[in-house]
Symmetry: none
Subunit: 428 residues, 2 copies
């Protein structure tokens, strides 16, 4: 079986290790590498410090077949990567004349005088292939993997520059060095509102059960993603393995919890809007503790204007009464966080808008407002349709934003279940 | 001068190395470490693979004094960190009874039956201090730095859980082990809706102008943060430097753009709610292209229930007419994305709710819906108060979510300016 070449991504720059930015270069490069059949075996970030950068690069020797390093190619004292790589590969730096010309030309064409030190950017470790930079000043380079060292690709840290370089050079310069890549396929099954440990219990014995197939579980506030990565010596083998594992998972994962299959980035709101468009269903929302978060997510989907007729953010009791017609006496007797209030909100929103289905949320997101009977995390939901009104009580853990996100996911799950003709809450 | 203890941040999880997420845990932890006088000498991310995680942790030996590892503490086969640390420190795992009880109780209180394997989360390397988890199931632990190994803090990867753990345990368990830290002070000035290059022009010559003081600028869709980091041999020197730089910046940065000074995490919505509470002002929102995002952000602030009377998500024309009383003829003549429509939405929302001020947004977030006259990114805003109605047109760059975030920030800036008695848009 063809093994994936192993790749490592290193970001250099004190702004990363100081936490000014998240390392999104590593994320995007990892996706590109994975899509081309590499296995990313690690990320590292090092400050602009020769010792730390050298250690990070040396740490990949014997571990990775390809290292991509971004940053550290500028003209300042801080930019050390050319020299560090030259020393690690035990070669001198050599001036690349075509690169030097391009740097001079860049300054000339802008009518700016060039500080002499900028030419240092045209120095490249001997033996490396220069990657001319048509999108910025500093060229990159590709160092061959020799003497136990991996192949190393050095590029500027500016996303627009390394992206353009990857587009131009990756297929031409890097991929030919790794002719045998098992181009793996990824498939994701999204589940909704089921505990991670329950999903794990359903499929535990499938982990490591099939050669060339890896499973992973990712959970985030009610949304569970089961990821299948399949590879094989031939495309046919790989696809057969993928299909076999998908079949196994289909047997194990109850369909009512399955939100979607396919792309990694599918969201519950995508599924709700798509299903409602198919079935020509319209929605209204009435939100208290989520404060508009459900409407915001639904309207983030293209095409949602045909589905979401209207959203109400009725945070205070005045708004609940004024706009949704929730009875003042009801609010006094049961409180705003009650099944009665949730039901009245959903009914009011449905009547006001004429939507097929209205969904309401009212709860205590915290940190204040909790009591012994209704602690922080207590959230009531109601769904009103021509079939009547159904209410559900949930207790969510975590911070204010956690409770709000759990609540959004629960609400979207109820809408999904309604649109698909499933019971609004799990059976049994 | 006291030297900073060296820290290293490791994130474990195949979702990071595969590029599913950016490693924001490393970013946030680095900020916390730096604010407490640590120097972050590197980040690493490893997939759920024992060899890779072990290498990443071992790579910090001799390089760091403190290692923070997130992830890998859940109940599944993928969660290997307890065992890896125990092996590297050459100690057995021991069951922590209090942690076991908490896990059992967590399931009991939710009325969910507990899979037996969940108890494995209560196993901790011998000699480590258990960090009980009151916000999730898996406890963390703090392993002392012995035999050339750094101190190691292991926490769950879920941001809400490690954040709560850092709040509770970092000062108590970790900091006493590092008594000599040159504590630098950080101060952030937040600006709103002014170009980064303009801010840069105002303060460019202050960069590197003062010993022991570092400046940084961070921009994100209309919000600019200017960060001052001051340090010194003594607290008095450090504080004097900080005050001197704050004074310089105060002279340079026009107050009307200054959102707030102080903590890194201050948001525009925090400022709007705080100012409105002080001045006893109430708000209503009427959102089209932001789809509830403004209401969501306002209601994310504790105390917002006294300010936001009601929010309307009127995405379609029907809702604009039905709930906000926007004239059908007006919509036909000018279209929903027009100053006229924005004005009518704001007026309608204010009349309906009796709020002091109503803010409306209507625009084209894309990717579809643009035209030559009204390209994607065209957004109209209106603000209605007893002083009348004012409309503003903006053109924002980027993707659908970029346009929505810019629009939210613009709307919140108009509310902030109104609440502070400033002109709704910059003068001159």
């Amino acid at each position: 079986m063809v093994k994936s070449p192993r790749a490592f991504v290193i970001s250099t720059g004190t702004e990363i290790t100081q936490g000014l930015y998240a390392d999104t270069n590593a994320m995007h490069l990892s996706r590109i590498l994975r899509d081309h059949g590499f296995e990313v075996v690690g990320h590292a970030a090092a400050p602009d410090d020769a010792g730390r950068i050298r250690d990070a690069i040396r740490g990949t020797f014997g571990v990775a077949d390809l290292v991509i390093v971004t940053g550290g190619l500028g003209p300042t004292e801080d930019d050390l990567n050319r020299e560090i790589v030259a020393r690690l590969w035990e070669v001198p730096l050599v001036r690349v004349h075509r690169a030097e010309e391009m740097i001079r030309e860049r300054f000339r064409s802008r009518g700016v005088s060039m500080p002499e030190r900028n030419l240092g950017q045209a120095d490249i470790p001997e033996g490396a292939k220069t990657l001319l930079n048509f999108w910025g000043t500093a060229p990159g380079f590709a160092m061959p993997g020799t003497g136990g060292r991996p192949m190393l690709l050095a590029m500027p840290g500016v996303p627009a520059e390394w992206r353009a370089m990857m587009d131009r050079y990756f297929r031409r310069v890097v991929l030919p060095m790794f002719p045998n890549r098992p181009v793996s396929r990824i498939h994701t099954i999204h589940l909704s509102l089921v505990p991670e440990s329950t999903v794990n219990g359903w499929i535990r014995d499938l982990f490591d059960s099939m050669e060339g197939v890896r499973l992973g579980i990712l959970a985030s506030r009610g949304i569970i993603r089961v990821r299948i990565a399949a590879s094989g010596d031939t495309d046919a083998v790989r696809d057969r393995r993928m299909e076999a594992m998908r079949g196994c998972l289909r047997d194990r994962l109850p369909t009512e919890f399955v939100l979607a299959e396919g792309p990694e980035s599918t969201t519950p709101e995508d599924v709700v809007i798509e299903t409602c468009l198919e079935r020509r269903l319209t929605i209204a929302t009435a939100e208290s503790c989520t404060g508009g978060g459900i409407a915001r997510r639904l309207t983030n989907v293209s095409g949602s204007s045909g589905v979401l007729l209207e959203g109400f953010v009725t945070y205070g009791n005045g708004a609940k009464t004024r706009t949704l017609g929730v009875d003042g006496e009801l609010l006094e007797r049961h409180g705003a966080v009650s099944g009665e209030c949730a039901a009245a909100m959903a009914t009011g929103a449905r009547e006001r808008t004429g939507a097929n289905v209205a969904l309401s949320v009212t709860g205590i997101a915290g940190p204040g407002g909790g009591s012994k009977e209704k602690p922080v995390g207590t959230v009531w939901f109601a769904i009103a349709s021509e079939e009547g009104v159904q209410t559900i009580l949930r207790a969510f853990p975590g911070s204010r934003s956690d409770v709000r996100e759990w609540s959004e996911n629960q609400a979207l799950d109820m809408l999904r279940r309604y649109a698909r003709g499933l019971p609004t809450v799990p059976t049994g």
